[in-house]
């Protein structure tokens, strides 16, 4: 992309390019409080004020091809402090959505693609998933006070359905135990689906509305299929 210091041909600038964006980007008074508050300002030359200005100036290729929208963590602090209430995280997401899908940064692209294809970001087979859940369940059952604990997978008519964040069956299996112990102690009637259990929805981060809809639809389908009334969606 054009480096900030390169002299630009101003006649090429078309302010109308992003006119349909409803994020109030043209209200920017360039005060810079977004950049001052941003936890990733300064990384690879990124800061939110500059990105908002790129959009406001209609510099589409520069914005879409740049790494800048992908450095943002979408934490939303910039919008919280912005005196003009510019919807900066939504703007970032909209710019991300304009990138060709094959050029979405690797981990997000691969994770989401795996989720759409296999039902979870890891591409973890169903047998392996069930094995991990039951293994963790057995560990809990060995603890005093949790005798007889089992994981109710695909239980019809349960009160609560809960989704799983992929890292909980990958590197953070210990963290599964907290909710489950609370359920046990509370005598809660709960369940977890055996496939398409992914709780994250990385279409949020890649700007892919269709993918988001697919992921949400799967959870809704579980609710219908198992006749569960309440959803616990911790993501």
């Amino acid at each position: 992309m054009t480096k900030p210091d390169e002299i630009m041909d101003l006649s090429q600038i078309d302010h109308g390019v992003f006119r349909s964006f409803p994020f109030l980007q043209d209200h920017c008074i360039t005060c810079g409080i977004c950049s001052s508050s941003c936890p990733v300002s300064g990384i690879d030359g990124f800061d939110p004020r500059k990105l908002v200005r790129l959009i406001s100036l209609g510099m589409k290729d520069e914005a879409v091809d740049s790494r800048w929208p992908w450095i943002c963590t979408m934490c939303g602090k910039c919008q919280y402090v912005c005196p003009m209430d510019i919807h900066i995280p939504d703007l970032v997401r909209a710019v991300r959505s304009m990138r060709e899908r094959d050029k979405v940064p690797g981990i997000l692209h691969k994770g989401l693609e795996a989720a759409i294809r296999t039902g979870n970001n890891l591409g973890l087979p169903k047998e392996d998933f069930i094995f991990i859940l039951e293994d963790v369940g057995e560990e809990i059952a060995e603890e005093p006070g949790f005798e007889g604990f089992t994981v109710p997978i695909d239980k019809d008519g349960a009160n609560i359905l809960t989704t799983i964040h992929n890292k909980l069956v990958n590197t953070h299996t210990e963290d599964l135990k907290h909710w489950w112990k609370i359920f046990y102690a509370a005598g809660e009637d709960w369940t977890v689906p055996s496939d398409q259990w992914e709780g994250t929805n990385w279409g949020l981060f890649t700007g892919d509305d269709q993918a988001m809809k697919t992921m949400v639809g799967r959870i809704a389908d579980h609710m219908d299929r198992l006749k569960v009334k309440n959803l616990l969606w911790p993501e």
């Binding site: 008074i29 005060c31 508050s37 005196p83």
Partner: protein, 348 residues
């Protein structure tokens, strides 16, 4: 101009004893109009009375001294009756205005007036909700707090320990140009005030370094460019509004901002942070205007008619910061204008 003979003595009420109200009362009195000057506070002089003279080796035309001579003249003027600790309670349309004035809620008095000038001033933006730790950290002050401090004690000291600061930061536009608080306007006086204040501090306490964080500097006065150029050696100007302020273990203030020169985030330590808070419509302006049947604009200041500077209500005029943010000199001019309109209305 000497006093002009007013054959049928007219009567006016001026609401507000700040610089605009004082000037309006004096101007009306010069036309032999009897004036009731109604001030809700315990003393005349308004915000302007708290401001400190910013002269260094010479006058910088800040206007802070202009209030005192007028205050004296008002007190001595036989045509002006001053009501301190007083508010307007009732207004009846009697061709003119029948007004009930309450004195500290204890006693009331009535008076008849042919014209009313509203000069009840502004409120300062309260920055408690901004991320700068105002009221949480003793060494975060507003620009008005700082004015008062220098006026009282002549120099800047940290409120937490009375030590002289090494580094001071000014943050401009706190509560101005801010859609979230509904204050889209520029408060107009803060850039000039902060820069003059910076130079005053530097001239009295040369060991203090000062940084001014700004969006864009509003020029003020004819010599402004010269003034600003001279200031650049003295004061660090940084074009960014900072975000967070934290207190350090040794009771200093760590402030984060995005430095546009290095293009990096910085956490810099300061001893004091001064918030240049915006001028907002007065807290009681809404109630006052509804008593007199006047409209406020969407911004909350008094609406004026397209053709003149006075509100669209016969016999009611507005002066000073009820019309929007302005400085002392402009408030004085605005009072003169309001009185001129009132005189024409009264056919004097």
């Amino acid at each position: 101009m000497g006093s002009i003979i007013n054959m049928q003595r007219k009567h006016a009420i001026v609401i507000g004893g700040g610089i605009a109200g004082l000037c309006a009362a004096l101007e009306l009195a010069r036309f032999d109009i009897d004036v009731d000057l109604v001030e809700k506070g315990p003393a005349l002089g308004g915000h302007a009375r708290s401001l400190t003279c910013k002269a260094t080796d010479r006058c910088v035309k800040c206007g802070a001294c202009l209030v005192e001579e007028r205050l004296q003249a008002v007190v001595e003027n036989p045509n002006i009756k001053v009501h301190l600790g007083s508010e307007i309670m009732e207004v009846q349309d009697s061709g003119g205005f029948s007004v009930v004035i309450s004195n500290e809620g204890k006693s009331t008095c009535s008076c008849e007036a042919d014209a009313v000038i509203i000069a009840s001033g502004f409120s300062l933006f309260r920055p408690d909700g901004k991320p700068y730790g105002y009221k949480r950290f003793a060494n975060v002050l507003t620009n008005l707090d700082l004015e008062r401090m220098i006026r009282m004690q002549g120099s800047v000291k940290r409120p937490s320990d009375q030590r002289e600061p090494e580094k001071i930061a000014f943050i401009q536009c706190v509560g101005s140009r801010d859609a979230k608080t509904g204050h889209l306007w520029c408060s107009r006086i803060c850039c000039g005030a902060a820069l003059r204040m910076s130079r005053l501090i530097r001239s009295r306490q040369p060991q203090v370094t000062i940084s001014v964080f700004y969006i864009d500097i509003q020029s003020s006065g004819r010599d402004f460019q010269f003034f600003l150029d001279g200031l650049r050696n003295d004061v660090r100007l940084i074009r960014a509004i900072p975000a967070d302020v934290f207190r350090t273990e040794d009771d200093r203030l760590s402030m984060s901002y995005f430095d546009p020169t290095s293009r990096q985030s910085k956490d810099e330590i300061f001893d004091m942070i001064i918030l240049s808070v915006g001028l907002c419509p007065g807290d009681d302006l809404k109630g006052l205007c509804s008593l007199f049947g006047m409209k406020l604009s969407d911004s909350g200041f008094v609406t004026v008619s397209d053709k003149t500077e006075y509100p669209e209500k016969h016999g009611v005029f507005a002066a000073g910061t009820v019309l929007g943010p302005m400085g002392i000199a402009e408030s004085i001019a605005s009072a003169g204008k309001a009185v001129w309109e009132a005189i024409r209305y009264l056919k004097i």
